[in-house]
Protein backbone atom coordinates (compact mmCIF):
# COMPACT_ATOMS: atom_id res chain seq x y z
CA UNK A 1 0.00 0.00 0.00
CA UNK A 2 2.90 2.29 0.60
CA UNK A 3 4.13 4.07 -2.44
CA UNK A 4 7.67 5.22 -2.97
CA UNK A 5 8.36 8.59 -1.34
CA UNK A 6 9.23 11.46 -3.65
CA UNK A 7 12.54 13.16 -2.95
CA UNK A 8 14.10 16.11 -4.73
CA UNK A 9 17.71 17.24 -4.40
CA UNK A 10 19.76 19.55 -6.65
CA UNK A 11 21.42 17.79 -9.61
CA UNK A 12 24.80 19.42 -9.26
CA UNK A 13 26.47 20.26 -5.98
CA UNK A 14 29.79 21.50 -4.69
CA UNK A 15 31.49 20.52 -1.46
CA UNK A 16 30.44 23.03 1.19
CA UNK A 17 27.10 23.84 -0.45
CA UNK A 18 24.04 23.93 1.76
CA UNK A 19 21.34 22.23 -0.28
CA UNK A 20 17.60 21.89 0.15
CA UNK A 21 16.07 18.41 0.25
CA UNK A 22 12.33 18.19 -0.44
CA UNK A 23 10.47 15.04 0.56
CA UNK A 24 6.90 13.86 0.21
CA UNK A 25 5.48 10.54 1.35
CA UNK A 26 1.98 9.06 1.04
CA UNK A 27 0.41 8.46 4.43
CA UNK A 28 -3.05 9.01 5.97
CA UNK A 29 -1.70 10.52 9.24
CA UNK A 30 -4.84 9.36 11.08
CA UNK A 31 -5.04 11.33 14.32
CA UNK A 32 -6.95 8.84 16.47
CA UNK A 33 -9.41 11.60 17.49
CA UNK A 34 -11.68 11.19 14.49
CA UNK A 35 -14.83 9.07 14.32
CA UNK A 36 -15.46 6.79 11.37
CA UNK A 37 -18.81 6.28 9.64
CA UNK A 38 -19.69 3.59 12.23
CA UNK A 39 -19.38 6.11 15.07
CA UNK A 40 -16.27 4.49 16.54
CA UNK A 41 -12.91 6.20 16.81
CA UNK A 42 -10.60 5.46 13.90
CA UNK A 43 -7.40 4.07 15.47
CA UNK A 44 -4.33 6.31 15.40
CA UNK A 45 -1.98 5.72 12.46
CA UNK A 46 0.79 8.29 12.24
CA UNK A 47 4.29 8.75 10.98
CA UNK A 48 6.05 9.81 14.17
CA UNK A 49 9.67 10.06 13.11
CA UNK A 50 11.81 11.15 10.19
CA UNK A 51 15.60 11.07 10.08
CA UNK A 52 18.15 12.04 7.46
CA UNK A 53 21.72 10.78 7.63
CA UNK A 54 24.60 11.56 5.30
CA UNK A 55 27.77 9.50 5.48
CA UNK A 56 26.48 7.81 8.64
CA UNK A 57 26.00 11.16 10.39
CA UNK A 58 22.58 12.51 11.31
CA UNK A 59 21.96 15.82 9.57
CA UNK A 60 18.28 16.35 10.36
CA UNK A 61 15.55 14.73 12.41
CA UNK A 62 11.85 15.45 12.90
CA UNK A 63 9.29 14.26 15.45
CA UNK A 64 5.86 14.39 13.88
CA UNK A 65 2.44 14.37 15.57
CA UNK A 66 -1.23 14.37 14.65
CA UNK A 67 -0.84 18.07 13.81
CA UNK A 68 1.00 17.20 10.61
CA UNK A 69 -1.09 17.03 7.43
CA UNK A 70 -1.73 13.80 5.56
CA UNK A 71 0.99 12.87 3.06
CA UNK A 72 3.67 14.71 5.06
CA UNK A 73 5.85 17.12 3.09
CA UNK A 74 9.13 18.01 4.77
CA UNK A 75 11.84 20.18 3.35
CA UNK A 76 15.15 20.71 5.13
CA UNK A 77 18.74 21.72 4.43
CA UNK A 78 22.08 20.02 4.87
CA UNK A 79 25.71 20.76 4.12
CA UNK A 80 27.38 18.69 1.40
CA UNK A 81 30.66 17.30 2.73
CA UNK A 82 31.38 15.15 -0.33
CA UNK A 83 29.70 12.72 -2.71
CA UNK A 84 27.63 10.05 -1.00
CA UNK A 85 24.21 8.70 -0.19
CA UNK A 86 21.64 10.63 1.75
CA UNK A 87 19.60 8.10 3.69
CA UNK A 88 16.04 9.08 4.65
CA UNK A 89 13.91 7.01 7.03
CA UNK A 90 10.28 7.45 8.00
CA UNK A 91 8.96 5.49 10.99
CA UNK A 92 5.53 5.34 12.57
CA UNK A 93 2.61 3.43 14.04
CA UNK A 94 1.75 -0.11 12.94
CA UNK A 95 5.45 -0.86 12.32
CA UNK A 96 5.61 1.69 9.51
CA UNK A 97 9.13 2.02 8.16
CA UNK A 98 10.33 3.29 4.79
CA UNK A 99 13.96 3.92 3.94
CA UNK A 100 15.21 5.64 0.79
CA UNK A 101 18.74 6.31 -0.39
CA UNK A 102 19.42 9.33 -2.57
CA UNK A 103 22.80 9.75 -4.22
CA UNK A 104 24.27 13.23 -3.79
CA UNK A 105 26.51 14.06 -6.74
CA UNK A 106 29.45 16.40 -6.40
CA UNK A 107 31.22 18.07 -9.29
Amino acid sequence: MTTKPRIKVPDTNKVGDVIEVKTLISHVMETGNRKGPDGNLVPRDLITGFTATFGGKEVFRADLTSGVSANPYISFFFKVTGAGDLELTWTGDKDFKVTEKVPIKVG
Binding site: T31, N33, K57, V59, F60, A62, D63, T65, S66, I74
Partner: protein, 160 residues
Protein backbone atom coordinates in the same frame (compact mmCIF):
# COMPACT_ATOMS: atom_id res chain seq x y z
CA UNK B 1 -43.76 -4.45 69.58
CA UNK B 2 -40.70 -6.68 69.40
CA UNK B 3 -41.39 -7.42 65.75
CA UNK B 4 -41.26 -3.79 64.81
CA UNK B 5 -37.91 -3.36 66.53
CA UNK B 6 -36.44 -6.22 64.55
CA UNK B 7 -37.54 -4.62 61.32
CA UNK B 8 -35.83 -1.39 62.22
CA UNK B 9 -32.57 -3.20 62.94
CA UNK B 10 -32.73 -4.90 59.57
CA UNK B 11 -33.37 -1.63 57.85
CA UNK B 12 -30.33 -0.10 59.38
CA UNK B 13 -28.13 -3.00 58.31
CA UNK B 14 -29.43 -2.72 54.79
CA UNK B 15 -28.72 0.95 54.86
CA UNK B 16 -25.12 0.33 55.90
CA UNK B 17 -24.58 -2.23 53.13
CA UNK B 18 -26.02 0.16 50.61
CA UNK B 19 -23.87 3.03 51.80
CA UNK B 20 -20.61 1.12 51.56
CA UNK B 21 -21.53 -0.09 48.09
CA UNK B 22 -22.13 3.50 47.04
CA UNK B 23 -18.75 4.49 48.45
CA UNK B 24 -17.07 1.71 46.47
CA UNK B 25 -18.72 2.92 43.27
CA UNK B 26 -17.56 6.46 43.97
CA UNK B 27 -13.96 5.26 44.34
CA UNK B 28 -14.09 3.43 41.01
CA UNK B 29 -15.54 6.43 39.24
CA UNK B 30 -12.86 8.65 40.76
CA UNK B 31 -10.13 6.35 39.44
CA UNK B 32 -11.63 6.38 35.98
CA UNK B 33 -11.50 10.18 35.97
CA UNK B 34 -7.83 10.09 36.91
CA UNK B 35 -7.03 7.65 34.11
CA UNK B 36 -8.80 9.88 31.61
CA UNK B 37 -6.85 12.90 32.78
CA UNK B 38 -3.57 11.05 32.13
CA UNK B 39 -4.57 10.10 28.60
CA UNK B 40 -5.45 13.67 27.76
CA UNK B 41 -2.78 15.50 25.73
CA UNK B 42 -0.83 18.13 27.69
CA UNK B 43 -2.05 21.72 27.57
CA UNK B 44 -0.19 24.41 25.63
CA UNK B 45 1.31 25.85 28.82
CA UNK B 46 2.50 22.43 29.97
CA UNK B 47 4.16 21.82 26.61
CA UNK B 48 5.87 25.22 26.73
CA UNK B 49 7.10 24.53 30.27
CA UNK B 50 8.47 21.15 29.20
CA UNK B 51 10.50 22.67 26.36
CA UNK B 52 11.72 25.78 28.19
CA UNK B 53 12.30 24.37 31.67
CA UNK B 54 13.39 27.31 33.82
CA UNK B 55 14.59 29.39 30.86
CA UNK B 56 12.75 32.28 29.25
CA UNK B 57 12.39 32.62 25.51
CA UNK B 58 13.51 35.79 23.77
CA UNK B 59 10.96 37.16 21.32
CA UNK B 60 11.85 37.60 17.67
CA UNK B 61 14.83 36.53 15.54
CA UNK B 62 12.78 33.63 14.32
CA UNK B 63 10.96 33.86 11.04
CA UNK B 64 7.66 32.03 10.65
CA UNK B 65 6.24 31.97 7.16
CA UNK B 66 2.52 31.23 7.23
CA UNK B 67 -0.50 32.31 5.21
CA UNK B 68 -2.60 34.97 6.96
CA UNK B 69 -5.77 33.15 6.01
CA UNK B 70 -5.85 29.39 5.59
CA UNK B 71 -8.88 28.32 3.62
CA UNK B 72 -8.40 24.66 4.39
CA UNK B 73 -7.16 23.74 7.85
CA UNK B 74 -6.20 20.27 6.64
CA UNK B 75 -3.03 21.45 4.93
CA UNK B 76 -1.53 24.76 5.91
CA UNK B 77 1.96 25.24 4.46
CA UNK B 78 4.53 26.89 6.71
CA UNK B 79 8.24 27.36 7.04
CA UNK B 80 10.35 28.37 10.01
CA UNK B 81 13.81 29.88 9.65
CA UNK B 82 16.27 30.97 12.31
CA UNK B 83 19.31 33.06 11.39
CA UNK B 84 22.29 31.16 12.70
CA UNK B 85 25.88 30.52 11.54
CA UNK B 86 25.33 26.81 12.36
CA UNK B 87 28.88 26.28 13.63
CA UNK B 88 29.88 23.87 16.40
CA UNK B 89 29.99 26.76 18.87
CA UNK B 90 26.80 28.48 17.77
CA UNK B 91 23.96 26.56 16.19
CA UNK B 92 20.26 25.89 16.50
CA UNK B 93 19.61 22.56 18.18
CA UNK B 94 15.87 22.33 17.65
CA UNK B 95 12.83 24.15 16.35
CA UNK B 96 9.47 23.32 17.92
CA UNK B 97 6.23 24.27 16.20
CA UNK B 98 3.29 24.57 18.59
CA UNK B 99 -0.38 25.31 18.16
CA UNK B 100 -2.53 27.14 20.68
CA UNK B 101 -5.86 25.87 19.39
CA UNK B 102 -5.42 22.26 18.26
CA UNK B 103 -6.48 19.28 20.40
CA UNK B 104 -2.79 18.49 20.90
CA UNK B 105 -0.39 21.46 21.13
CA UNK B 106 2.75 19.99 19.55
CA UNK B 107 2.73 19.99 15.76
CA UNK B 108 6.32 18.94 15.15
CA UNK B 109 9.82 19.18 16.58
CA UNK B 110 12.83 19.41 14.28
CA UNK B 111 16.40 18.68 15.37
CA UNK B 112 19.43 20.24 13.75
CA UNK B 113 23.19 19.94 14.05
CA UNK B 114 26.07 21.89 12.48
CA UNK B 115 25.83 19.31 9.64
CA UNK B 116 22.42 20.77 8.76
CA UNK B 117 24.09 23.94 7.46
CA UNK B 118 20.93 26.01 7.84
CA UNK B 119 18.23 26.09 10.50
CA UNK B 120 15.22 26.08 8.23
CA UNK B 121 12.35 23.72 7.65
CA UNK B 122 9.14 23.70 5.64
CA UNK B 123 6.15 21.42 6.07
CA UNK B 124 2.36 21.39 6.20
CA UNK B 125 0.23 21.39 9.33
CA UNK B 126 -3.35 20.78 10.36
CA UNK B 127 -5.22 23.54 12.14
CA UNK B 128 -8.52 23.00 13.93
CA UNK B 129 -9.51 26.68 14.08
CA UNK B 130 -8.23 30.26 13.92
CA UNK B 131 -5.35 30.47 16.34
CA UNK B 132 -1.76 31.51 17.11
CA UNK B 133 1.17 29.41 15.99
CA UNK B 134 4.15 29.58 18.31
CA UNK B 135 7.61 28.48 17.31
CA UNK B 136 10.46 28.01 19.76
CA UNK B 137 14.10 27.62 18.74
CA UNK B 138 16.52 25.94 21.10
CA UNK B 139 20.09 27.28 20.70
CA UNK B 140 23.37 25.51 21.46
CA UNK B 141 24.20 28.12 24.13
CA UNK B 142 21.10 27.15 26.11
CA UNK B 143 19.03 30.14 25.07
CA UNK B 144 15.60 30.06 23.49
CA UNK B 145 13.98 32.19 20.82
CA UNK B 146 10.26 32.49 20.34
CA UNK B 147 8.07 33.65 17.48
CA UNK B 148 4.32 33.90 17.13
CA UNK B 149 1.94 34.25 14.19
CA UNK B 150 -1.85 34.31 13.92
CA UNK B 151 -3.60 32.28 11.24
CA UNK B 152 -7.25 32.62 10.32
CA UNK B 153 -8.71 29.25 9.46
CA UNK B 154 -11.85 29.12 7.33
CA UNK B 155 -12.51 25.36 7.49
CA UNK B 156 -11.01 23.44 10.41
CA UNK B 157 -8.89 20.43 9.64
CA UNK B 158 -9.19 18.02 12.51
CA UNK B 159 -12.21 15.97 11.41
CA UNK B 160 -15.14 15.89 13.79
Amino acid sequence: MSRRLKLEVLDRREFLVGASAAAAVATVVGDAHLALAQDKPPTFDETMAKILGQAKAEEGKINIDLPEIAENGNTVPYSVTVDSPMTDADHVKAIHVLSTGNPSPTIASYRFSPASGKAAVSSRMRLAKTQDIVSIAELSNGKFLMGKRTVKVTIGGCGG
